[in-house]
């Protein structure tokens, strides 16, 4: 099914790169590298050059920390979204927020997609997406409160829980008036999940893809990669790309990433192995 992210439509044969752009002083991977607005803008320019179709702008880190209210979150992202919208009309702008109030403001500023990493914690977010004809990412968190860590959470069947919750959320979005072709589902690795859960979700991602909803995966440099390989944050690219390969083979459509060109190459390679994309330029043995 064609995926529509507000004004932007993408055929289902095409995997998409969503580049993370943090307007935060304390996110785990870049540690505030793009906290200054001009640095964040340069990051956008750079990922566009690398071929990212989507930027995911976030004003609050996922991990617990200093409380950031809606006013401060808006101050961090709304004007920035407007600036990016004006400079890059063809770019899909996603905003990583769980708050309806923030979602409304960024959609007015030109955002196309609301990436709710916290599984619908604010029930009005779907109404905002519907009102603006924006797209929405429906994640699974196991019902945890935003910005909390998982603690002794267990599931009878984590993939069953992921599918039930994300599809329930997707249905809520459609019932609220969000266009069905503008709804994505995301298992949300590490959110409400220990490493074993995230590994199982990766291994069984094909079950999510089989639901027919386009699947977004956010694997980039996460703790389940770090714990699996015993690597600190700066040394998780190889593990991230290995997990990316597994998700690509299963057919994930959107990849939320720090490293765009590395992920693009990985996904293109797997997509081609899967027979969904031709090689870039094959002549060896065929002359």
């Amino acid at each position: 099914m064609t995926l529509r992210l507000r004004r932007h439509a993408f055929a289902d044969t095409r995997p998409l790169m969503m580049a993370i752009v943090n307007r935060t002083p304390d996110s785990f991977f870049d540690k505030g590298a793009t906290w200054q607005e001009d640095a964040a803008f340069e990051r956008v320019r750079s990922v566009v050059d690398e071929g990212a179709e989507i930027v995911d702008i976030g004003g609050i880190k996922a991990a617990p920390g200093e409380e950031i209210g809606p006013a401060e979150e808006k101050a961090r992202v709304v004007d920035f979204v407007a600036r990016v919208r004006e400079a890059f009309p063809e770019l899909v702008i996603s905003v990583d927020t769980w708050r309806a109030e923030v979602g409304d403001a960024v959609c007015r500023a030109g955002a196309d997609l609301l990436n709710d990493a916290w599984g619908g914690a604010d029930p009005e977010l779907v109404d905002v997406a519907a009102e603006h004809d924006a797209a929405i990412v429906c994640t699974h968190t196991g019902g945890v409160t935003p910005r909390t860590r998982p603690y002794r959470i267990e599931y009878d069947d984590v993939v069953r829980a992921v599918i039930d919750d994300t599809l329930g959320y997707a249905q809520r979005a459609v019932d609220a008036g969000v266009a069905p072709e503008s709804v994505l589902i995301d298992p949300a690795h590490d959110f409400g999940k220990n490493t074993f859960h995230s590994l199982e979700v990766t291994r069984r991602l094909g079950e999510m893809v089989a639901t027919g909803w386009p699947v977004l995966v956010s694997l980039s440099n996460k703790d389940f990669v770090g714990e699996t390989l015993d690597r600190p944050v700066g040394e998780r690219l190889i593990g991230t790309l290995a997990a990316t390969s597994v998700c690509a083979l299963a057919g994930a459509r959107v990849y939320r990433v720090h490293q765009v060109s590395e992920t693009r190459q990985t996904v293109d390679m797997v997509w081609t192995i899967a027979g969904r994309r031709p090689p870039a330029r094959a002549i060896r043995g065929l002359q």
């Binding site: 031709p278 330029r281 065929l286 002359q287």
Partner: protein, 163 residues
């Protein structure tokens, strides 16, 4: 009137070997021109793989045959023109291709018939269809050379004749 065209047995022309960026775009265009000129009912001349390629090339044709006979001959020169060529660099390859190219362009049926088949095999040349071509070219005239090059160490020609 009989129409005859020669195209190389380059497998990159087949749709199942398509790339995002076509490595043989100019060749493909020349082959397309020749196939359209022949019509979709042309008889393909060459070995089994060549016949598969020929059938594929003709299947995409834009024009039905108008009743006259036409032949699509599949064959090419050496595959030893450079170190990166499939058969590696053979210093005899260039001279071989020059002679063969001259015979084709000169519609020299006798020269084609007396082609050194053992040298052709050593140079990985695809000449199975060319001996039949020599018979077809008797009394023919060259209509055009649409392609003459060895972009990947293999000598390709796209040529058209009629008689």
């Amino acid at each position: 009137m009989t129409r005859i065209a020669l195209v190389p047995g380059c497998l990159a022309l087949l749709p199942e070997y398509a790339s995002v960026i076509d490595p043989v775009s100019e060749l493909r265009e020349a082959v397309r021109t020749a196939a359209d000129w022949l019509g979709t009912d042309a008889t393909v001349v060459g070995g089994p793989q060549a016949r598969r390629l020929g059938a594929s090339v003709l299947a995409g044709g834009a024009r039905a045959t108008t009743g006259e006979r036409s032949y699509l001959v599949v064959g090419n020169g050496s595959a030893c023109r450079t170190e990166k060529a499939p058969g590696y660099l053979d210093p005899r390859a260039e001279g071989f291709d020059k002679l063969l190219g001259a015979a084709l362009a000169g519609t020299d049926a006798a020269a084609l018939a007396s082609l050194d088949q053992s040298l052709a095999r050593e140079l990985w040349a695809d000449t199975a269809g060319l001996s039949e071509l020599s018979g077809l070219l008797d009394g023919a005239r060259l209509v055009g050379i649409d392609y003459d090059g060895a972009p990947y160490g293999v000598q390709y020609w796209v040529m058209r004749w009629e008689r």
